[in-house]
Symmetry: C2
């Protein structure tokens, strides 16, 4: 199911401006969210992040239109994934920002697939580093080619996802997920300045950590610390909380960790509270 020109469509084929800078230069943003029972989980967090990111990129953003798209797609799909895409719209040749951008907003919804939430993952470290000097690494911006190539590399090694380090050699993130290390009572995740996306589930876990007996820490995470972690997990809007069973062949009993199970149960409960029972 698709949304463009302000309404739902069955087909993904739309009249589209081939000078759109989202298409020609990766000049745009997107957002992926979980639909349950026809509602978006963490809806406000998704819309707020899209608005804040659009402001950073100076792309005009209409929150009412985005809300309509999100709700229409969630209602249409019931259970699944909703993606919104916001581009800067058409432009003349060159990189300079158009004086009067006409942004383009569209969306898509995909039905839920089995195993999409709470998967257990093996990771492989990429030779590509995450570029923490770029604001783009902190935004859900369209350029995902590094993540695509990193994932291709990881899949070829028999892993399920890639682990990126940043320029400083610190642990950064997966292809499409934030990472957490459980170190005793501490839940450690890299700060945004280490080149990671401000994930909505990342923020939710940081917020709820203390109520589940954890101390949340946003700080740079070394590979040595990660190796010593009691558990490692990845978060994003669709996987929610994915325990990591291995990193470069080194095993972690993350899925069996009691704290990880508590966090997963908390997320399950939060979805029911926000979206109701399916």
């Amino acid at each position: 199911m698709f949304w463009f020109d302000g309404t739902l469509h069955e087909s993904s084929i739309a009249p589209f401006d081939l000078t759109d800078r989202g298409l020609t230069l990766g000049d745009g943003l997107f957002d992926t969210s979980l639909a349950r029972n026809g509602r978006i989980f963490r809806r406000k967090a998704h819309l707020d992040r899209l608005a804040a990111s659009a402001e950073i990129l100076a792309i005009p953003f209409d929150p009412a239109a985005a809300t309509r798209a999100l709700d229409a797609l969630a209602g249409a799909i019931g259970e699944g994934t909703v993606r919104l895409t916001l581009t800067r719209g058409g432009g003349t040749r060159g990189l300079a920002l158009p004086a009067h951008p006409k942004p383009c907003l569209f969306g898509a919804a995909s039905p839920a697939t089995s195993g999409a939430t709470f998967p257990v993952l093996a990771l492989a470290t990429s030779s590509i580093r995450r570029n923490e000097t770029s604001p783009v690494t902190r935004l859900k911006a369209l350029p995902y080619l590094d993540a695509i190539l990193g994932l291709r590399e990881a899949l070829a090694c028999g892993a399920d996802d890639v682990l990126f380090e940043n320029m400083a050699g610190h642990v950064a993130c997966l292809s499409v997920a934030n990472i957490f290390a459980v170190l005793g009572q501490s839940l450690v995740t890299p700060p945004l300045t280490d080149g990671v996306l401000a994930g909505t589930i990342r923020a939710f876990i940081l917020d709820k950590a203390i109520s589940l007996g954890f101390v949340a820490e946003e700080r740079s995470l070394t590979r040595a610390e990660l190796s010593c972690a009691d558990a490692v997990f990845a978060t994003n809007s669709i996987r929610l909380l994915a325990p990591c069973r291995a990193i470069d062949g080194m095993a972690f009993a993350s899925a069996e960790h009691e704290g990880v199970k508590r966090l997963q149960a908390m997320l399950r409960d939060a979805i029911v509270i926000e979206c109701g029972r399916a």
Copy 2:
């Protein structure tokens, strides 16, 4: 003037698949070339680079279709700029490569604008670094958001373009151009492994250097060396050879340098030889 579905069109509005990975993930390539007298300058170099880049990204590439598009757009515009875009085409959700990609090729031509070739530029260094660990920085791939943000930063400082350093702190490139330093008889430009595009004019200059009395060197270039350069210039397919008059406020008499003038004359001659007189 536009080219899609195998033919020329006046309008940029086309039926387009909104699941196209070029649009949703920056998963694609492009090429920009100079049309003179209805012909593409360095035509084979452009087509060869697109083919080689598509192979690296595992995007199926039809050289005959790309050649038809390039020639049709050059013929239609006469004098100007031709851009081809090649995406991996539509796909289901997620980053994993589709098993059977259906790539999408389209193009656009823009008329020549005055001052587009051989401009004299002031540069400002970006706080964003070029990520030489990523193969994407060596390809003319769709993700250009770092370059857009770097250029925005440079324009705000009153400069004409941005100078990127890489992670190692070496000189890399501009937003859309390679960089050369003239150091005595040496023409020094960073190697591709420093995170720079394999520019067609960059390759042409390296090839012709010796015949113009220069020794060409592809090697890492420090900021200290750049500061001591007799001249600094940038190359790309449209600007051809742009002398740099200042970097972060430090002046360079690049446009007056005899060697730079010889290189510009060589390029003018080469265009006439390849494309004929307008």
